[in-house]
């Protein structure tokens, strides 16, 4: 069952008369009880997407089109930039929540954890009593194996790993339907990453959140954590597939190149050679006519430079590449 779907999401930053196209007709589905991984190199628009999905885009981001449907509610994403963000504000934290990048600094350093928990709950229910907030927050901490006394602490009194988990507990305090995790792991060491992965799995397993969008540049991590993986390049989703299939048999040339440049713990990894991706990402100041990856793609054809490749769905996966489109056509004809 589909929990959330993003349709036709386009957005750009405007700075000094120049536009930077950050998101270009992005479409994604998050299924109930699953973790969708979104991967891409820096500048591919994944963090922009996190800010849009968590309904809190930065002031200079213009969302020109796009809807987010979460559990039956349709949210017009373009509203936020036109000053009608009040309706979005009501959904933040309760329907969609953000697990931020750099969780270590995500807590207000001069406020006790418990008071911050109360602020968060009070944002959803203004009349909630402080005692009730503390009770609920304590219960949530306990459910995640955290000592409830953490509520009385100031953030600096918690260890790094503890802070990470407290932030996760706070992010899910109001039982959001969808959790958007924006590179929460990038600043963590390997063992803390492991703990975070377990924690997120547990959130899903215990039904504290219904679905997670996990944004990262770390394909190896996603191959363990995610149920499905979407690959982004230059503001577009170029391929989406079940995690295992994407890792073992990527179809889009960019996915192939991305996977060839990292080590993913899979059978056959040993003895593989790592290769980089030649060239650099495209200039996003002008709209791109054809496939964004074409200039760096070893398989590029004439059509790739002029026409945008269609999204080709095969079974449980899809990708947007002219080669796949031709193979598909040939299969139908033949």
């Amino acid at each position: 069952m589909t929990l959330a779907s993003i349709r036709d999401l386009s957005a750009h930053y405007s700075a000094g008369g120049t536009r930077f196209h950050a998101l270009d007709e992005v479409a994604l589905d998050v299924r109930s009880g699953q973790i969708l991984g979104v991967v891409g190199e820096s500048g591919c628009g994944k963090s922009t997407m996190a800010s849009v999905l968590s309904l809190n885009p930065g002031p200079s981001l213009r969302v020109t089109a796009g809807t987010l449907s979460v559990a039956g509610t349709d949210i017009d994403l373009t509203d936020a930039t036109r000053g009608a963000s009040a309706s979005h504000r009501a959904l933040r934290g309760g329907t969609v929540a953000l697990l931020p990048q750099g969780a270590l600094n995500a807590l207000n350093p001069t406020r006790r954890v418990g008071a911050q928990a109360h602020d968060i709950l009070a944002a959803g229910d203004r009349r909630i009593k402080r005692a009730v907030s503390y009770e609920r927050a304590a219960a949530r901490l306990e459910a995640l194996d955290l000592p409830p006394r953490a509520l009385r602490a100031y953030p600096h009194q918690l260890s790094g790993g503890m802070r990470q988990r407290v932030v996760t507990a706070l992010a899910t305090l109001r039982n959001p339907r969808l959790l958007v995790a924006d590179e929460p792991s990038s600043a963590l060491d390997v063992s803390s990453q492991r703990l975070l992965v377990d924690l997120l799995r547990r959130l899903i397993a215990e039904g504290l959140v219904e679905g997670i969008v996990f944004i990262t540049h770390d394909v190896a991590l996603l191959s363990e954590l995610a149920d499905r993986i979407a690959v982004m390049y230059a503001g577009r989703v170029v391929e989406e597939a079940p995690a295992r299939e994407l890792v073992s048999s990527p179809r889009h040339p960019y996915s192939q190149a991305l996977l060839a440049s990292v080590l993913v713990p899979e059978p056959g990894t040993r003895g593989r050679r790592l290769t980089g991706i030649p060239g650099s990402p495209p200039d996003l100041r002008a709209p791109l006519a054809g496939c964004a990856f074409a200039p760096r793609c070893e398989h590029a054809m004439d059509v790739c430079a002029t026409d945008r490749p269609p999204r080709v769905v095969t079974g449980s996966r899809d990708d947007s590449c002219w080669r796949s489109a031709e193979t598909e056509e040939a299969a139908h004809v033949g």
Binding site: R92, G93, A97, Q101, G102, T110
Partner: protein, 335 residues
Amino acid sequence: MGFLRHLLSKLGWYAAAFAAALGLNFFLPRLLPGNPVDTLVAQALRGGASSETKQRVYETYIQEFGLDQNLGAQFLTYVGNVLQGDFGTSFSRHPAEVSAMIADALPWTIALQLPAVLLGWIIGNLVGAVAAYRRGGLDRGIYLSSLFLTAAPYYCLAILLLYGFAVVLPLFPTGGGWSFGLSPEWSAPFAADALSHWFLPFLSLLLVFIGGQAIGMRSMAVYEVDADYVRFAESFGLPDRKIVGYIFRNGMLPQITGLALAIGTLVGGALLTEIVYSYPGIGTLLYDAILNKDYPVIQAVTLLVLIVVLVANFLVDVLYGLIDPRIRAAERGDR
């Protein structure tokens, strides 16, 4: 305990600063060429005093300052007198005690400055936090007007307000602490009269102070508004006033140190404002003393200001240690 040690080391620094201040206050005028003490005696006695008065002034002066002794002994006499609250006798209003003159003036100054500082600090910091958080036109407007308020010296704004609201539009009295014909007493008519005299100088201090604090807070909060914890709080749809509160609390901590450092300028500026309004406080006392070369009064006032500034600094330090949990824990060693 760390906090106590922190306090003690601070206390040590203030003791050193106080000793330096006391020394400056005493030695500076005496060590400069031309033996200014003699000059001052001469100047004090110039004019139409009778020879009997002259003789009395001179004798009191010699005795009070122990002028027949060497400089070290004079300093000890001075410190001893000061510790007993004895600041000597005024030259210009002989035989008035300097301590009594100060006691008369001090309440007026406190009534003027304390509310202006506290209120201005709170309002200014809130304005600065809001400006930084909202950004855009509001921010620019607040920034430029605050910059203007701080750039203009205290007394310039005081002059403009006095001219505008007491002379051109006679809404308020043109100066002094109370109207001619009344005398200070605890009664409703006098209180109302004093309040109307108090308002303009208070307002001019308040505005300048709001401006300065808003600027400081804004430049702090500019960094805070992009902080991770603000973005995280926003992602829960926390109301704006709550988020401004977060920023305020975090931006405020450096602002408290700023307050400590600004107290000196502040008190000095406020004294000048009193002069513009002929307000019967310490500032006007100092002004008259300088015009009349009333050296004991000048020295007492400068010492008083020095002490007030040091004590205020120390209190702010203590307050800072209590408010900031990070400081309490980390016990930073900077002085």
